[in-house]
Amino acid sequence: MQALRTAATGMAAQQMNVEVISNNIANMNTVAFKKQRAEFQDLLYQTFEAAGTQSSDQGTIVPTGVQVGAGVKAGAVYRVQTQGSMTRTDNPYDLAIDGRGYFQVLMPSGETAYTRAGNFAVNDQGQMVTQDGYLIEPAITIPADAVQVTVSKTGQVQALQAGQTAPSVVGQLELSTFINEGGLQALGDNLYKETAASGAPTNGTPGAVGVGTLVQGYTEASNVDAVAEITALIVAQRAYEMNSKVISTADNMLATANQVKA
């Protein structure tokens, strides 16, 4: 019976939905996390009687036809790229991006990854690194005797060294933008990788046309809305239950058919 299989696709899709929602909730406090959403599509339809076919010699046509669908599938799981709110940390190496763009991170493999999580730190050589110790590009080295580090909205890094009155420029941060941010591939650890779908990155200084600006001393919070996620979770759970109900009803119908006395 088709209904059994159809309901099974419904249960599988809702299970996937719950997985996506739980990942969102788990990452509610992850810096710069972008919530994801499972997108559903109906499956192919089996046509028993096509709409528009002639039903008589008089030229009358079947107005609607008979089509039975095979259920649902989870299509793309896409990221919602809205801005997360700014959280004040007062850490001079915490940089939030207001607007479009990603920091470039040099992976140990030599590849470049992209991130919006600007909670950086300084390593033993004074280089600005991510929390995993990966270097950011272009490389910024903070002098060992720096007493104050400021990052301007446009990404200029200045350090005030001990015994000096004026800060000196130690580097310029860049942001990469993509034509299709949704096409980036998540690598975990808040990192993303460029793909054919995202298009090649365009590097620019923060504050240029189409590029976001930097805010020092803040991190970008995740854009997960707890209330919306919990509501979605309830809907998914009920939909799952309802599909299981379809399975038991279809099963009952099959049992009825089996009980007919021969």
Partner: protein, 245 residues
């Protein structure tokens, strides 16, 4: 006399198909832009081979098409700037390798060439049947109620909304899309409104589907019972006729 069994069987076959449709509705409860369907049935008079007391029409049950409710689904806020929902009658048109497809699923995005596309990467067409180009560098896209896309002060295109005089000519093609099965040309829907940052959820009403499912299941049992008693009747008559001899 066996007619009754076959009439019952014709009803059961419809009920199973109806169950499949209900299962599909429930499975797609959460599918954006999904339109609920229901089975229609008709009586199909056939001449019987023989009925006691002269020929009488026996009415079988046969499918009479699937009714599709194109009613508005509720709008769900997503805040995604390229999510669009249609309020009123009309469809977005996308183009894939097999031709034009119509959809109410307005979760669009921009591909690596800057085209406005759906989640499968198929180009969304404007009101003249052309593709729409968006340059993300120009900033936030805003969508007017008539589908006009603009970035800042610059108009970059207009999402086309198309309508059919008889939406029954559309056939579901899967992936939340419909296919035109006739020569009827779609017209630009002037009445429809686009809501930016919303998607249209399915118009499946779970309570109704569950109620119908219970109805189908009970009706199936009832028919099975009828077939049973009919078989019982013929068994008894064979027994009695045997005794008379």
């Amino acid at each position: 006399m066996d007619n009754a069994i076959y009439v019952g069987l014709s009803k059961q076959m419809i009920l199973r198909k109806e169950m499949d449709i209900i299962a599909n509705n429930i499975a797609n409860m959460d599918t954006t832009g999904f339109k609920v369907e229901s089975m229609m049935q008709k009586t199909d008079p056939q001449q019987p081979a023989y009925t006691f007391g002269g020929p009488r029409p026996v009415k079988f049950v046969s499918p009479d098409g699937v009714a599709r409710d194109f009613g508005q689904g509720s709008l769900v806020k997503t805040d995604n700037p390229l999510d669009m929902a249609i309020e009123g009658e009309g469809f977005f048109q996308v183009r894939n390798s097999q031709g034009a497809r119509f959809t109410r699923d307005g979760r669009f995005t921009v591909d690596n060439n800057g085209r406005l596309v759906n989640q499968k990467g198929e180009a969304v067409l404007d009101d003249a049947g052309g593709e729409i180009q968006i340059d993300p560098e120009k900033g936030q896209v805003s969508v007017g109620a008539d589908g006009t896309l603009s970035q800042g002060n610059e108009r970059v295109g207009k999402v086309g909304m198309y309508d059919f005089a008889t939406p029954g000519v559309l056939e579901k093609a899967g992936d939340n899309q419909f296919r035109n099965t006739s020569n009827q040309q779609p017209t630009v829907a002037a009445e429809a409104k686009v809501r930016q940052g919303y998607v249209e959820s399915s118009n499946v009403k779970p309570v109704i589907e569950i109620t119908r499912m219970v109805e189908v299941s009970r009706s199936y049992e009832r028919t099975a019972k009828m077939i049973d008693s009919e078989a019982e009747l013929s068994r008894r008559s064979v027994e009695r006729l045997g005794k008379l001899q």
